[in-house]
């Protein structure tokens, strides 16, 4: 076997190295060395991110099981930056007394899921893809149940693993039909042989539903609010951004690359799913009292918007989608950052507790407001640009009515995002959240997010970089 192929997988390899180093340190380090564990982890992960942020030439490894395209570097870097922000935000939470002995596991598990996602993204064969999905899902379930003595967290873990396994089962069944019809599991081979026959369509439908579970699109979203509410907030952030970002990217590549013949059929399927996701999630979000459940529904509706990039099926749709994921990541993580800080300090997760936050913690509430405006798509924040691009991409392919429905829904989403802003800004509370002195890692993460929210849209070269590589697939 030619081992030099492994060198080409430097992204996966350095991540593995980080995981192994951390695991070894976790097991063997002394009490004193343990104090620097988190700092070391953050530094190692940052190095890994920096080493792998320059795109290279396309190649394939292991006979086409693993395919690399330059756009993968961008999506993986986005995931890396997102993970880094989540790790920064989790810093203080991991230093609490009950978690300090478990933080080794936290890093190990989080980075393992990330490794799984890398495999999903770069897979060129359905087996590789499936290994990726499972590597990502199983540690994730553990993370969701990280606070195992908390009923809600344990319940969320059980719900996540059950729905995850169920979804995987559906996907696998779909794949077996596709395999039966085409006789191959290689993406390229299937695409050549596939004729959109009845059995292939059924196989595709099962496979797609499994993935929709992962992205939590309506009507496959029912696990989302409970899991989001129960999981530790940093994990919820990870789940809503990194996990979802990977899944939408993968959906795009597989739909276009493997199931390209059925484009007419899956566009109809997606049309219905998008309308349902955006509308239903928006309506449910209005009624939420808990900020994490609220963000769960918000993320479902955002996922619906992201699917507008998939439905176009064009290079423009692809670059808009990657860009949307980038902007959504920063905006959503900014919100989660604030929620984490408030939960850690004041132990409050109800939206009503945020009343008058502006008058006690002006900086936190302004960051949160900017992020919510960005999520709602209000200029001059980045969210406006990403929404405009993804709408443009879909409009260009003739989905006029769909874009109009999505646009009309932005009014509804603006309503519930503004409700939170209103609560924070308009009235003072009798029982406000006290002044919080934020820890430095969280501060850094919020500064990164805020700068990104304000400038990513205004600086056009970021989108241009992405769109140059838009469609190597």
């Amino acid at each position: 076997m030619n081992y030099s192929a492994f060198l080409q997988l430097h992204n996966e390899m350095t991540l593995l190295a980080v995981i192994v180093i951390l695991l070894v340190i976790d097991v063997f380090s002394s009490e004193k060395g343990y104090r620097f564990f988190q700092t070391l982890a953050l530094i190692l992960f940052s190095i890994h991110t920096l080493l792998n942020c320059v795109p290279g030439e396309p190649f394939e490894v292991a006979g086409g099981m693993y395919m690399y395209y330059p756009i993968h570097t961008y999506i993986k870097t986005i995931l890396n930056v997102g993970t880094l922000i989540v790790l920064l935000q989790a810093h203080r939470w991991l230093n609490t007394e009950e978690n300090i002995i478990r933080r080794g596991e936290f890093y190990f598990l989080t980075l393992s899921t990330l490794f799984g996602m890398y495999l999903m993204i770069s897979a060129g064969h359905f087996l590789m893809f499936f290994i990726g999905i499972e590597t990502a899902a199983l540690p994730m379930a553990t993370l969701v149940a990280f606070n195992k003595f908390n009923n809600k967290s344990a319940e969320a873990g059980a719900k996540y693993i059950l729905s995850s396994v169920f979804a995987s089962g559906l996907s696998l069944f779909g794949l077996s039909l596709v395999y039966g019809a085409t006789g191959s599991l290689y993406f390229d081979d299937i695409a050549k042989i596939m004729t959109a026959s009845q059995i292939e369509l059924i196989g595709f439908a099962f496979f797609a539903v499994g993935l929709f579970f992962k992205i939590s699109l309506v009507p496959f979203h029912l696990w989302t609010p409970d899991v989001y509410e129960g999981a530790p907030t940093s994990i919820t952030a990870y789940l809503s951004v990194i996990s979802k970002g990977t899944a939408v990217f993968v959906v795009f590549t597989i739909f276009v690359k493997v199931f390209g013949v059925m484009i007419a059929q899956w566009q109809i399927l997606l049309y219905i799913i998008i309308v349902l996701s955006i509308t239903v999630a928006n309506l449910f979000a209005i009624r939420q009292q808990n900020i994490k459940r609220f963000l769960a529904f918000s993320s479902i509706s955002q996922a619906g918007y992201i699917m507008l990039g998939v439905i176009s099926g064009t290079a423009l749709g692809m670059s808009s989608l990657v860009y949307y994921v980038l902007v959504y990541m920063f905006s959503n993580l900014a919100v989660f950052g604030v929620v984490t800080i408030i939960e850690n300090h004041a132990d409050k997760t109800s939206i009503r507790d945020y009343t008058g936050l502006y008058y006690t913690n002006p900086k936190l509430s302004i960051v949160m407001a900017l992020a919510l405006f960005s999520l709602a798509g209000i200029p001059p924040f980045s969210g406006f640009f990403s929404k405009y691009f993804i709408f443009s991409a879909a409009f260009k392919e003739g989905f006029y009515v769909l874009v109009f429905i999505a646009l009309a829904n932005t009014v509804v989403s603006l309503y519930f995002y503004l409700k939170v802003v209103k609560i924070m800004f308009f009235n003072q509370s009798e029982n406000p959240i006290e002044r919080i002195s934020t820890d430095i890692p969280s501060k850094i993460s919020l500064i990164i997010c805020t700068l990104a929210i304000v400038f990513v849209g205004l600086v056009s070269s970021i989108f241009e970089q992405i769109s140059v590589l838009g469609f190597g697939i």
Binding site: S319, F395, V403, A408, F426, E464
Partner: protein, 493 residues
Amino acid sequence: MSPLLIFVLIPLLMMIALFFTNNRKQVNLISLSGSLLLLLSAIALVVLFWRERTAGNTAQMLFAADTVWYREFNIHIATGVDGISVLMVLLSAIIVFTASLVSWRIESMPKEFYTWFSFLAAGAFGFFISIDLFTMFFFLEMSVVPKFLLIGVWGSGRKDYSAMKLVLMLMGGSVLVLTGILGIYYLTGAETLNIVELAHKNIEQPAQSILFALLFTGFGIIGALFPFHVWVPDGHSSAPTSVSMFLSGISMKLGAYGAFRVAICLLPEGAHQLAWIFLILSGFSVVYGAFAALGQSDLKYINAYASISHCGLMFFAFLIFNETALTGAFLQMISHGLITALFFACIGMIYSRTHTRLVSEMGGLMKVMPFIGVGFIIAGLASLGLPGFSGFVAEMTIFIGAFQNSGELQRWFTIFATASIVITAVYILRVVGKVLYGKQEHQAYDSLADAYWWERVTMITLIAAVVLVGTMPSWFSNMIQDGLAPLVAGLVK
């Protein structure tokens, strides 16, 4: 970089400077010098523009500049001004200047207030100087955040409700506008979003009519066209004084300006096809607004409904499709912007002293505060169209233009709309009489102070502008016709 971007840059620099202030004095200094600088730049722009034109420069847009922003979507930062937009920039500068003076002594959080207010101003200026559809929309939407926070945090009365209602309705308008913009871009198959170049492209029917309906309704919501005017009364009355001035003086004009520049000029066939629907709606706006103002007891509500009536007249004049009426429409935009700002300023000053806006609670204020009283009367008389003030010039031109259109529907609705003049006179004179000359209701009012210096400057500036438009209308209509000339050719049938 276009030199015109200075109008966006100054407010943004003000925001940055305000960030570093730590007392009221510094805040006032920055807001005053910034808005004065804006006003001076606007006057300089008018002078430079006029000089270019008299020197024989016949380009449609002067000081035009074009920078590529997003190549894939043909988004450019394209700026340029013609006679109309120069006047709109001047109007915005006057209102921003006076509005920041009015809030000189704002009680809570002056620093944050002026920060958001500068942000609001940046959006309005950006909209008027842009000639790229995306950039226009970008600046139009930019006002959502500051409007919501300014009304919600510094407002009075049912501020939560009003802020939410205003922002959501405006967002609804924007959604229609954005759909229309995407439609224009993709259906013309054009490689540009520049409104000057798009005017030469054609869109097939019936798509053109559908897009026109979307865009005109969208801008109509922003410009308070009946029946989408419902955000106006609540929004204006809950907002703090300077925001009310801005909302009715500039924000509603954004809608009217967009309705003409984008909807009518880019989709002329659709406009002619559907004009009758919107003509009826705007005719209703004019009369309904006036009647509704008649029944109100709160000063701000009265002026809000009056604004609906007067802004309806602008839409009405657009749909007459002749040069006279269009000139009138833009005169009305300027005139109404100034008068309504003056009105809201006076109401704000009275409210800050009497702590009530109910007409029935007030009386005999002329004796106590003669300066404010005179300003109030002038606003009233200008609003009902007394010759010598801007209102007369604008309405006269509109109605003369409207009578030139011999269509049956147009004729009937012109007669219908003229009726509003009489109703306007009724509610204005009634309010002025009761508030200023009526019996004094409370003894405590005796000790109220008259206008402070910043309030005097506000009123004098606005009154001077109103009189200027009223006494030298030909210069203003020349400016407007300069902008209209290249547009009107494709429009008038």
